[in-house]
């Protein structure tokens, strides 16, 4: 089955920048520093850059497949592995997308519960938030891309706030550079995975660009921008916190904001958490858009009903998780799947696809 997309539903290639950047930049920014510094301490910023480079490579691999096939992952799976195995793999991929979307929502609700409202109930917020996701996703990919666009532009005003902690920063914390082994760095790169997951959705929305080939450079720019922001935040964090101090901070970014004082505004982290609602909306919308689109392509049901089922499922899962341990487990679970998906599955798919492609050409 061809994933033909009508031209009126397609978007311009430059939006790939925002789609990639926005799906990578999410709730992870609030607390990724602790995870990555567990293994490699103050050298973890190198791991951020390394993972950025790896993703550039993975993006290139994805484009090598997508440009040849001019179609989405579900069709690629079907041509490479046949209908049944292909659909099974696609289903697993969609499951991963769905679970990571749900994790983002639950983690964000946890942030609200810890930082803003201790007695905040999970279900009303999840219900309202998923309703807004339905409202946006049900209007198609153009609107989802639009939300990504605004979700990237509006929070840019928060970037200067990352500079404020520099007043108390000590850049000697970063020295000596490279006093951790390569294995430690690789462990940090693994920890970084959950934070920068999201770009793999490109495999599903690729056919939605007007001239899909032209989107490649924009995805690379998007990834570069994400890497720079993460690296910048990581450096500021490591300069601001001592290495031991960082290990006891679950959300170092939020704690850093506490130092900012404006004449009309103290405790800027409240504003930032509210703004984060707008930041994570695109992540959830893209995840559910991609998941529902995949379900539609595999099971031949309408995307609207697929979306409703997925949102209902996500709502139930979100409500069932109610403590820090469970959320942490879910995060590490998603992170683990992410590692296999990125660092093993995409290169394997790349190799198998090219072998099959050559064989087909010969015959």
């Amino acid at each position: 089955m061809q994933a033909h997309v009508n031209r009126q539903y397609r978007v311009s290639p430059y939006l790939a920048f925002f789609l990639i950047y926005k799906t990578q930049f999410g709730v992870g920014v609030l607390g990724f520093q602790r995870y990555i510094s567990k293994a490699s301490g103050h050298d973890a910023w190198i791991a951020v850059i390394l993972s950025g480079l790896i993703i550039h490579l993975l993006l290139w691999m994805m484009y090598q497949i997508l440009n040849k096939e001019q179609n989405d992952l579900i069709s690629i799976h079907q041509t490479v592995f046949g209908k049944w195995i292909g659909n099974l793999l696609s289903f697993l991929f969609i499951l991963q997308v769905f679970i990571s979307g749900t994790t983002v929502l639950r983690t964000f609700i946890e942030v609200i519960q810890v930082w803003v409202f201790p007695l905040f109930k999970t279900w009303p917020f999840a219900l309202v938030f998923l309703t807004s996701a339905y409202y946006i996703v049900s209007n198609g990919f153009r609107t989802v891309a639009g939300v990504c666009y605004f979700g990237s532009i509006i929070p840019l005003i928060l970037i200067p706030t990352f500079l404020a902690p520099l007043e108390f920063a000590n850049f000697r914390n970063l020295l000596p550079v490279m006093d951790h082994s390569i294995t430690d760095l690789i462990k940090s790169v693994e920890e970084m995975t959950f934070t920068i997951l999201g770009f793999e959705l490109l495999l599903l929305y690729y056919p939605y660009f007007i001239e899909p080939e032209k989107s490649q450079k924009w995805t690379h720019y998007g990834n570069l921008f994400t890497t720079l922001i993460y690296a910048g935040v990581a450096i500021v964090t490591f300069a601001y916190y001592g290495e031991d101090h960082l290990q006891v901070e679950i959300w170092p970014t939020l704690t850093m904001w506490k130092v900012i004082k404006l004449p009309v505004l103290e405790r800027i982290e409240y504003v930032a958490i509210s703004a984060w609602t707008i930041i994570i909306l695109p992540n959830i919308c893209t995840a559910f858009w991609a998941a529902s689109r995949g379900v539609k392509r595999i099971f031949q049901i309408t995307q609207r009903s697929a979306l409703l089922i997925l949102l209902a499922g996500s709502f139930i899962i979100t409500c069932l998780l109610n403590n820090r341990m469970q959320i942490d487990h879910l995060n590490s679970f998603v992170s683990m799947i992410g590692i296999y998906l990125l660092y093993a599955y995409i290169p394997i798919l790349f190799i198998i696809y090219h072998i099959r492609h050559k064989m087909r050409k010969r015959s």
Partner: protein, 504 residues
């Protein structure tokens, strides 16, 4: 002269009118319509006696007495062709089709016959087209620039537009809409500039209207708009002829309705609603500054009371200590929670606005003063509301009036209430949630199928030159991209020309 007063006019009782249309034509030879203002006169004193039939309330008596009767009295041959040739009126014809006769009589034509036993006669136009004089724009007032505004007559309005665009490419399609009102609707566009797809969409949608009465252009806008459930207007209405001329030249389509002093502009974008036409009369730095002020005042107007409610209810830690003192002193005697306080004040402002709008100007002003000063001060002194909130609400109301388009101002004022409720529910996070819904809604909206948020999304850098800021005229060399015009470039921009060297 035979005038019989029975019943009321056909226009007031359209149902009966419909029944009469079905009458067999044979009875038409008789004076067919016995109505109060229907006249059927025999002029026996003329050289060749003739009959004149018309509806007095629709016919301009001056035209009848000056341009019709003298010529008929001096006729040399009693033929209809002769009548048609001597009358100094452009629109006239000979017909015996009863339907047509009836239709033209109802549009202010005079029916001239030599015998009341036959149907065939000359129909000459003597329509009474009375409307108020062209006056100063009331809604879109401007300090500098032209001071003409549209009136209720389509002819006058079209004249004002044509005068500003004397080119043959200006096309006009006239349609009749409304089963009872038979309103004339004119669709204007410039051939070769406007996108044909847009023109066809507009014509199609207007033709598809099934409604009994069109009394104003806002009826049309509500009936053909993309999403009629949205509080945001998706068609721009204006009362300024120069704005119409300007958007026509850009490639927009303008809809004008007889009896309405407002023209509709489509397609349009959200940003257009925040640009006053006066921005083009002042230099670009000023215009850009005012536009940015307007943008911020809109944000302020929507967000300030919800933020106040959110912060005072939940996030008082946000407020620095010094400011806290001021707030606490102001709020200490108020017995209500912030949301109730805010709702009371917001509704008071709405009350004042509505009362001011419904009353005659002079009384309205008094109400404004009474409301603004007396009620405001009294409620603070009585301890019902706090000073700080009173300032915020008054400023927010003022800010909402900076929107140049009245309909948009209304939308903004209404938008504040869902924000307030969400702020009470979840504080600042609630405000963010409300914002998400508005953003999602705006992203879904279209105007004639074109994205409503353009040039912000989809991002079109060229169109940003005339959106939040207005760059000088020599940079506005292209038609806006969202209109998808046929002829894109209006003139060669100066940076394409060779720059002049020093002292040469």
């Amino acid at each position: 002269m035979i005038i019989r007063r029975e019943g009321v006019t056909g226009i007031r009782r359209p149902r009966k009118n419909k029944q009469e249309t079905a009458e067999p034509p044979s009875t038409w030879a008789e004076p067919f319509w016995e109505r109060g203002d229907f006249t059927h006169t025999h002029h026996a004193n003329a050289t060749h006696p003739y009959w004149i039939t018309h509806i007095t309330s629709l016919v301009d008596t001056e035209v009848l007495h000056r341009d019709i009767l003298p010529y008929l009295n001096k006729l040399s041959f009693p033929t209809l062709q002769e009548v048609e040739s001597v009358l100094p009126i452009e629109e006239k014809e000979i017909t015996d089709d009863p339907e047509k006769i009836k239709d033209l009589l109802l549009r202010g034509y005079v029916w001239i016959r030599f015998s009341d036993r036959v149907l065939e006669g000359v129909l000459a136009r003597a329509e009474l087209d009375k409307s108020r004089a062209v006056s100063i724009p009331q809604e879109e007032f401007s300090v500098v620039g032209p001071k003409e505004s549209f009136v209720e007559s389509l002819t006058t309005n079209l004249n004002m537009v044509r005068k500003r665009l004397p080119i043959k490419e200006l096309q006009l399609q006239e349609l009749t809409v409304g089963t009872y009102s038979k309103t004339k609707v004119a669709v204007l566009y410039i051939d070769g500039v406007a996108n044909e797809e847009n023109v066809n969409t507009v014509l199609q949608r207007i033709k598809a209207i099934k409604f009994y009465q069109i009394l104003d252009s806002s009826y049309i806008s509500q009936l053909i708009t993309d999403n009629s459930n949205s509080i945001f207007p998706q068609m721009l209405d204006t009362e300024r002829p120069e704005r119409v001329a300007a958007v026509l030249a850009e490639g927009s389509i303008v809809i004008m309705v007889d009896g309405s002093p407002h023209a509709l502009i489509a397609p349009t974008t959200l940003v257009e609603f925040f640009s006053a036409f006066e921005d083009y009369f002042i230099n670009w730095q000023m215009a850009s500054f005012f536009r940015i002020v307007r943008l911020f005042s809109v944000l302020f107007s929507i967000l300030i009371t919800p933020i106040y409610v959110a912060v005072v209810t939940y996030h008082y830690a946000l407020i620095p200590t010094d400011l806290m003192v001021t707030l606490v002193t102001s709020r200490s005697i108020v017995p209500f929670p912030p949301i109730l306080e805010a709702m009371i004040l917001e509704l008071t402002i709405e009350l004042l606005r509505e009362a001011g709008a419904r009353l005659p100007t002079k009384v309205g002003q008094t109400i404004g003063i009474v409301g603004g000063i007396v009620i405001g001060t009294a409620s603070v002194q009585a301890g019902l509301t706090s000073n700080v909130l009173l300032i915020f609400v008054a400023l927010a109301a003022l800010a909402s009036f900076t929107t140049p388009v009245y309909r948009m101002g209304n939308a903004i004022r209404l938008l504040r209430f869902p924000f307030l409720l969400f702020a009470q529910l979840w504080g600042l996070i609630g405000v963010a949630i409300a914002f998400i819904f508005v953003m999602g809604h705006l992203l879904r909206l279209t105007s004639l199928g074109r994205p409503y948020l353009e040039p912000i999304y989809p991002l079109r850098l060229k169109d940003l030159r005339d959106s939040f800021i207005r760059l000088p005229f020599n940079t506005q060399s292209h038609c806006p991209a969202y209109l998808q015009t046929q002829d894109k470039q209006r003139f060669t921009p100066p940076w394409r020309q060779k720059p002049r060297d020093i002292d040469e």
